[in-house]
């Protein structure tokens, strides 16, 4: 019941935010904050009720469209829970950070609807409902982009719509194909995930249907060469960039939750190709990020390169790497968002996003420079921050499958260091090239930045909070693949090493 409650709170908040604008111009913003906070509290309460042994720890089912065999069924397990919390917290930061502008009400309306769509995606266990929420998160973001009132917004909105809508429609075809194949075999026409899990298909059919799903998820991810929509979306507005950063996690979630379990043999076959794509994405995005001057574009490509890591991690089919993927989803969202926030903070004072024109901020705004250095260090994967754990786990797991991919991906880490340090060097150190107002960091900006820092450090030092939640999901999903080495530990690395060394000491 609480599951529907979370969705209801967000949608209700969206609907309320429209008329309250008449009362006071800034009221919608407060409505938005309250709605997201309520949703976060409700999600926390869900997590405390977990028992740890069952598959799902909260369920809700209700009849929706019996005519096609689709039910309104929601459920969450460890992975969903983490993603929902991440979404809501990032949503809170995005809304809190944005200016309370003129068209506040439609901004809050669209943002809350989008958050509801994304949260719905993480909850849905009925594939038709999943598709419904998938498309539902596109619309509000599209409207956010077109009402952003920048020069490139039209093109950005159009690209976004065509890429995501087109791939979504192809996913619909695959979904319907799966539905009909299953129906033909068992005479049960149902969209429920558990029902569709064991559909018998020939390898060719399975690969064809899987590609439809994968196309949609890979466009969302985004991998090279389907990433065209992301950088232009990032340039429109900071909140939109943060939301886009959230959206791309749904692509990763879709692959982990649906594409891999539904088509295990197909996934194994396609795994080398995916590793190659992942490596190409990492290298391509990192090198482009290094050559860009617009800090928003840099953070977009940095996000894309993190997604390349995720792709490698997923298709290594390894407990370690899947743990890494879980952490990376959080680390990447927070990291990309933090770079966007940094860019916006600087823009509000210097009037530009272009790092080639900036310089020497350390002397005039030491606080901002300190924050910026922290986020740049996070982006390059300094140990102690979430990105390090994530990339380490992914590469450790991928190393057992494909040494070449791991080596090439590590080059991406070096490139990440390059573009992160370049930001620091260009923006903070050196001569002052442009006059910048020396307004110190405001309270709202401090709050947003603090949330990011806490998240990065917390997960950087104590990742088992995340990995222990993911453990049941990972063991269940990956049990079709043969174990790599006997006695490979599940769960987080530190614990395993402690156990091992403990046993050594005991002997």
């Amino acid at each position: 019941m609480a599951l529907v409650g979370i969705l209801a709170v967000l949608i209700l908040g969206a609907l309320i935010s429209l008329p309250v604008r008449r009362i006071h111009k800034q009221l919608p913003w407060y409505v938005g904050i309250v709605a997201v906070l309520t949703a976060i509290i409700m999600s926390f309460s869900l997590g405390n009720a977990s028992s740890g042994t069952e598959k799902w720890f909260a369920r809700f089912t209700s009849s929706w469209i019996p005519a096609i065999g689709s039910n309104f069924s929601l459920a969450i397990d460890g992975l969903s829970y983490i993603m929902i919390l991440l979404t809501l917290v990032m949503g809170l930061v995005a809304i809190g950070f944005s200016e309370r502008r003129e068209n506040s009400s439609s901004f809050i309306f669209n943002s809350l609807f989008m958050l509801a769509g994304v949260v719905g995606i993480f909850m849905a266990t009925d594939l038709f409902l999943f598709f419904f929420f998938w498309e539902m998160m596109l619309l509000p973001l599209y409207f956010l982009i077109i009402s952003a009132n920048k020069e490139g917004s039209d093109k950005a909105a159009f690209k976004f719509l065509i890429y995501t809508q087109g791939s979504g429609l192809i996913m619909l075809i695959s979904l319907l194909a799966l539905y009909f194949i299953h129906g033909n075999q068992t005479a049960i026409y149902s969209f429920a995930f558990e029902d569709l899990l064991n559909t018998q298909m020939s390898i060719t059919t399975s690969m064809l249907v899987m590609s439809g799903f994968l196309l949609a998820f890979l466009v969302k991810l985004p991998v090279w060469p389907l990433h065209g929509w992301l950088p232009s979306a990032f340039k429109t507005a900071p909140a939109i960039a943060i939301f886009s950063g959230l959206l791309i996690k749904t692509g990763a979630y879709g692959i982990m939750r649906f594409a891999v379990p539904l088509f295990p043999e197909g996934s194994l076959i396609i795994s080398p190709l995916m590793m190659i794509l992942g490596v190409v994405t990492i290298l391509y995005a990192s090198f482009i990020a290094f050559s860009q001057n617009d800090i928003r574009v840099i953070s977009a490509y940095s996000g894309i390169s993190h997604m390349g890591f995720i792709l490698i991690g997923i298709y290594a089919f390894n407990d370690l790497s899947w743990q890494g993927v879980g952490v990376q989803m959080i680390a990447s969202s927070v990291g990309t968002a933090s770079l966007i926030l940094l860019g916006e903070i600087i823009h509000r004072r210097a009037g530009t996003y272009d790092i080639a024109h900036l310089g020497g901020i350390w002397t005039s705004n030491p606080n901002i420079a300190g924050i910026g250095t922290f986020f740049a260090m996070a982006a390059l994967g300094l140990p102690g921050m979430a990105n390090f754990i994530a990339e380490f786990l992914i590469l450790a797991g991928a190393f057992q499958i494909s040494v070449l991919s791991t080596v090439l991906a590590s080059i991406g880490i070096v490139a990440a260091a390059a573009y992160s340090l370049r930001i620091i060097q260009k923006v903070f150190i050196g001569e002052e090239k442009i006059c910048i107002s020396i307004i110190d960091v405001t309270l709202r900006e401090k709050a947003a930045v603090a949330v990011m820092m806490v998240l990065l450090l917390w997960i950087g030092f104590y990742p088992s909070m995340v990995t222990s939640r993911l453990e049941p999901f990972i063991t269940r999903t990956l049990n079709f693949s043969p174990p790599e080495t006997p006695g490979t530990e599940q769960g987080n690395v530190d614990e395993a090493q402690v156990k091992y060394s403990f046993q050594v000491i005991k002997k």
């Binding site: 019996p66 005519a67 498309e135 539902m136 619309l139 409207f143 075809i173 319907l176």
Partner: protein, 465 residues
């Protein structure tokens, strides 16, 4: 006995009352209200759900849940068009009162076609619908393009009526009867039918294709949509097609015409042609009404996919698709008629930044266009899903793929218009006011669109009897 055909009786009575009123009392408002009351009264009888027909009517009409559902849709749409027309024609100096007589006559024709089980009934209903429509299209006599559109429509419709009659005569010559159930049995039993029967069926399909604006019989539709007044376009786009669709669906279900391979193939060809021609021609359109004309050609193509499925699936999918398409179309043309106070929007630029001038209308247009794209949360999405399911159910994967490809193409030209609504203009923002009744009707229609998109089962059950 009276109850089964009650809507038709009430509308017929309303025609007489309106004619007399128009002759004696020249008051636009009064006539609009009486006209609306006529529709509401007829709609009230829908709730009786009666299937009891009197003896003399039994040969010509069939009244079942399906026809009641479509009658309800027709009457509600006509009511909405009535209200839009009142506000639209308020600004014109010409004689406005006769319009409502024409509207009622055309609606009567549609009601007759929905309940028809005999080809003659179908023809009577068709003519009852078409002739007033010619006049309605030309109603604003001062606009040259209205009269021109009407002449084009009249000429081509007359030709298609002639073709229809000849085709029906050929079918009669072969089957010996014009009752569609008997004709169906004839096709089922007969070992071989004379060759001219196929000619008859082909001519029938030609007439149907003309009326529904399927390619390649769609040439009249851009001119008519663009030339007529916005409420009349709403009528032509929605109610004028409903009767024909209802009858054709009944015909395909009850007679086994779909088993004729040649007919099946030709319908598939018609569907695919309509989809492509509609979408490809819509891409370059600068006038929103013309774009909607071509888009409706494409939508009729999608509808054919559902029609081809046959059986219960076809009935429910078609019924749902029609309803959601109507609601979206009414929302769109209603909104257009609201902003056509002084002058019709000539090109896409007149819509620029509409959201900042008139947010309600802009949101209505947006949701209407989204429903036509088939965006989830709108009825258009569920409608497309049901149609795809119907097509996949009969293994017509080719048609399903064509539908999906065309949906992707259509995103482009619809979003062009949505983009324009939200683009910022540098001029002064002058807020426009919308009359409360109009705003309420538009909002109700939009709520219906979203309701059908979120909880479609309710609506599907209406057509699932």
């Amino acid at each position: 006995m009276f109850v089964a055909l009650a809507p038709m009786y009430i509308i017929a009575a309303a025609i007489v009352v309106l004619m007399l009123l128009a002759a004696f009392v020249r008051n636009h408002k009064l006539l609009a209200i009486v006209s609306a009351l006529g529709f509401i009264a007829a709609f009230g009888t829908v709730f009786s759900h009666c299937s009891c027909l009197s003896k003399f009517a039994w040969e010509l009409f069939v009244v079942d849940d399906y026809s009641w559902a479509l009658t309800a849709v027709t009457l509600l749409s006509a009511l909405a068009i009535n209200i839009f027309s009142y506000f639209y024609f308020e600004n014109f100096d010409e004689q406005k009162e006769e319009y409502y007589v024409l509207l009622h006559t055309a609606v009567l024709g549609t009601l007759v076609m929905i309940a028809a089980k005999h080809f003659v009934t179908f023809f009577i209903g068709l003519e009852l619908l078409s002739i007033p429509t010619y006049v309605m299209v030309a109603y604003v006599r001062s606009k040259k393009e209205s009269v021109e559109a009407s002449i084009k429509y009249l000429a081509t419709a007359a030709a298609s009526s002639a073709a229809l009659l000849f085709g029906l005569a050929l079918i009669y010559a072969a089957a010996g009867t014009m009752d569609i159930y008997t004709v169906g049995r004839f096709f089922y039993i007969a070992q071989s039918v004379p060759a001219y029967t196929y000619v008859g069926i082909a001519l029938f399909i030609v007439a149907v294709g003309f009326k529904l604006a399927l390619a390649p019989f769609h040439m009249w539709s851009p001119a008519v949509y663009q030339g007529s007044a916005a409420p009349v376009t709403a009528f032509v786009a929605s109610v004028a097609k409903l009767g024909v669709i209802a009858f054709v669906l009944r015909l395909f279900n009850e007679s086994n015409l779909l088993n004729i391979g040649a007919l099946n193939i030709s319908l598939v060809v018609l569907a695919v042609l309509s989809m492509f021609i509609g979408n490809l021609f819509a891409v370059g359109q600068k006038n929103i009404k013309r774009m909607l004309a071509y888009s409706s050609v494409a939508h009729m193509g999608y509808l054919m996919v559902a029609l081809l499925a046959g059986g219960m699936v076809a009935k429910s999918a078609t019924g749902f698709y029609i309803t959601s398409y109507f609601v979206a179309t009414l929302a769109l043309f209603g909104a257009i008629s609201v902003i056509s106070k002084n002058d019709e929007p000539k090109s896409i630029d007149s819509l620029k930044g509409l959201y900042y001038r008139n947010p309600i209308v802009a949101v209505v247009i947006t949701i209407g266009l989204l429903a036509l794209i088939g965006m989830p949360l709108t009825g258009g999405f569920m409608a497309k899903v049901f149609v795809v399911k119907a097509g996949a159910g009969i293994q017509q994967w080719f048609l399903v793929w064509m539908l999906i490809i065309n949906s992707i193409i259509s995103i482009y030209y619809y979003t062009k218009y949505i983009n324009v609504l939200f683009s910022h203009t540098s001029e002064e923002v002058v807020k426009e006011k919308v009359p409360y009744l109009l705003a309420t009707i538009l909002i109700i229609i939009v709520v219906l669109v979203i309701w059908m998109g979120v909880a479609p089962q309710l609506w599907l059950n209406l057509f699932y009897n």
